[in-house]
């Protein structure tokens, strides 16, 4: 199995921490938006933008780039933050999130911001788009990969399963999906709202290769993608077990933080928590 050097892991951990800080700063400035999902997916996005993706932030339309389709557009703060840290646009622009005239719309808009790949927000329609993209790429014998990040809540949607059936039928091995399995959605816990389990069995029966990982372990994230790339006869879905709100104790596991932003006092507290790694170190900002 490929192995990440300790130094690389440390680098990714620091990046993920910076991205979480950016998420809090963006959301408090915007005054609205989603908090738990972006924090929970910060490690996955960091692993992709700083290790996995074959991309060029200075050339977002590069034809051979890997495509990352974000289906659950509402967690876009983490994508915007990861993109800014990766060099797609200046960090200062993150403060424009959700404001009039911004390229950082409340839900991502393809035509405004190069690199977001597709407009998204309404749930359940990302996997079909990613599958269509992957199908087209295969027609033209392209070697890039199409990644699709989904929420677990949008596994409720019929369109998701239509797309899963389609990708299974056509054995789209250039498509790798990843589900943010954080067990929360707006109205409560996923298994109370509309039970998804056994999720692994569902995807397997639809013709997918299924992997499960701890979405906060960089080695597991990277190894899963490497394994998925080696699967040639079917698409792969990585069920990424994530902690909603990861990195900030008060938010972790609390579904009430799905769709709200922190106020100024909360943000100051959360940023201090991130900067001191939960009190383990002293922050220069203190």
């Amino acid at each position: 199995m490929p192995h990440l050097h300790e130094e690389k892991i440390k680098f990714l951990e620091e990046k993920a921490n910076q991205i979480r800080q950016s998420i809090i700063e963006m959301l408090v400035e915007a005054g609205s938006g989603h908090t738990a999902g972006p924090l929970g997916m910060a490690d996955v996005f960091t692993a992709f933008y700083f290790h996995i993706l074959n991309h060029d932030p200075k050339n977002p339309f590069w034809e051979e780039r890997d495509r990352l389709i974000l289906s659950n557009g509402h967690i876009c703060p983490v994508r915007y933050a990861a993109m800014a840290h990766a060099g797609y646009f200046p960090l200062e622009e993150l403060k424009t999130l959700r404001k009039f005239g911004t390229r950082l719309q409340g839900h991502p808009e393809r035509e405004r911001l190069p690199g977001v790949e597709t407009t998204s927000g309404p749930l359940g329609s990302g996997l079909g788009q990613a599958a269509g993209y992957a199908y087209a790429a295969r027609m033209d014998k392209k070697s890039f990969r199409v990644y699709c990040f989904m929420s677990d809540g949008e596994q409720d949607a019929g369109n998701t399963w239509e797309a899963a059936m389609f990708a299974g039928k056509y054995k789209l091995n250039n498509l790798i999906a990843l589900i943010d399995r954080n067990n929360i959605q707006i109205d409560g816990m996923t298994e109370d709202i509309m039970p998804l389990e056994p999720l692994r069995d569902k995807y397997e029966s639809f013709g997918w290769h299924v992997l499960e990982i701890n979405g906060h372990d960089f080695e597991e994230i990277v190894n899963a993608v490497e394994e998925a790339k080696a699967i040639y006869e079917k698409p792969t879905v990585i069920i990424s077990h994530n902690i909603p709100g990861k990195g900030i104790k008060e938010i972790e596991f609390d579904y009430k933080w799905h769709g709200i932003a922190p106020n100024k006092e909360q943000a100051a507290k959360f940023l201090a928590e991130l900067r001191t790694l939960g009190g383990k170190i002293k922050s220069e900002h203190q």
Binding site: E117, T118, S125, Q129, G132, Y133, M165, F166
Partner: protein
């Protein structure tokens, strides 16, 4: 002869029984094949209705560019969005009731808002679907597609025009909704008849030029129609001409972007307008004409179409009569609007 000779309709356009009959969906199938031959980026997706949407011609010629989606119209829209995002030009086909009937939000967000050039072909639109009944008779689809930004909406009047519209849709760098019918209807345009997206054509005009300064209008009523009912409108106009009325019939195939100039001119020349469409009168082509005229040149209007009801089973002829879209109904509407001038 008040038939506009410039548009080169068939010679015996008024002799309905003698005209060749073909469904507009057939023109779509031929147009898609031609579009596929001309442009290798064209791909076709179908939701388990390949032959009845006439996609089989394309599928047979280009099996590697045809994608069977199964009964999954929402996914068909999203997969097409992905294909188009990559750089393909996808046509998606089903009955209009299911696409765009069932997959509206996917069309709005992943195709129109995403600004990708997917062409949505809805066949079996209108009550003339016939025996299948109301569940399969889409009479709300124009209203669904018309308000979405970036979307063009076209309802061809016969199989020849359907073929031209399909080929022309490839040249539009954006989403297009093409509306087709199941049933055979008169083929009264020719391959030479001009067709341009966004350009309405005057097919019939019995008005002379009014004498300068007389203050008189050159026409009594303008009939603005789309789809196969354009032929009924011409028949109605020919009858009314015999009764001494001066009528213009406009083939308003492109509902969006509408040819406002031609519509406003017709209203100015006639002072009264009747719209004719096989669609609910709420939100359809007639409503779009009313929007243009209310803003630019308000005149009395009558709306021939389905009046806030669901369809039912029957033969296409029976249903066109039952829902008030026959030649006699168009003539009645002309006479009604005349009383309001």
């Amino acid at each position: 002869m008040p038939i506009n000779s410039k548009v080169k309709l068939v010679e015996n356009v008024l002799e309905k029984a003698k005209l060749e009959q073909a469904p507009t969906r057939k023109g779509y199938g031929e147009g898609l094949l031609a579009a596929g031959e001309a442009n290798e980026k064209v791909v076709a997706l179908c939701a388990d209705l390949t032959e009845s949407t006439q996609m089989h011609l394309f599928a047979k010629k280009f099996p590697g560019r045809f994608i069977e989606m199964g009964v999954a119209e929402q996914n068909m829209a999203t997969v097409a969005a992905g294909l188009a995002n990559y750089g393909k030009i996808p046509f998606i086909s089903s009955y209009a009731m299911f696409s765009p009937g069932r997959n509206w939000e996917q069309i709005r967000t992943t195709i129109c808002y995403n600004e990708v050039p997917v062409k949505i072909a809805g066949s079996h639109a209108g009550v003339s679907v016939g025996p299948d009944g109301a569940t399969h008779q889409a009479v709300e689809d124009i209203a669904l597609m018309r308000p979405i930004p970036n979307m063009a909406v076209i309802n061809p009047c016969d199989a020849n025009e359907a073929k031209k519209a399909t080929i022309a849709a490839v040249g539009i760098n954006g989403p297009v909704y093409l509306r087709f019918a199941r049933e055979k209807t008169p083929v009264f345009t020719t391959p030479e008849t001009n067709f341009e997206i966004g350009k309405a054509e005057i097919f019939f005009d019995s008005g002379g030029s009014p004498s300068q300064g007389s203050g008189r209008l050159s026409l009594d009523v303008a009939i603005i129609a789309c789809g196969p009912l354009v032929h009924n409108a011409i028949l109605a106009a020919a009858d009314l001409e015999k009764e001494g009325l001066k009528i213009r019939v406009v083939n308003n195939h492109t509902i969006k972007p509408m040819d406002e100039k031609t519509i406003i001119e017709a209203a100015k020349d006639a002072g009264a307008v009747v719209t004719v469409e096989e669609h609910q009168v709420h939100g359809g082509m007639g409503s779009a004409v009313a929007e243009v005229l209310a803003k630019n040149f308000p005149v009395p209007m009558e709306f021939v179409g389905v009046q806030n009801r669901f369809g039912e089973s029957g033969t296409p002829e029976e249903l066109i009569e039952r829902f008030g879209m026959g030649v006699s109904h168009i003539k009645d509407a002309v006479k009604r609007v005349l009383t309001r001038k």
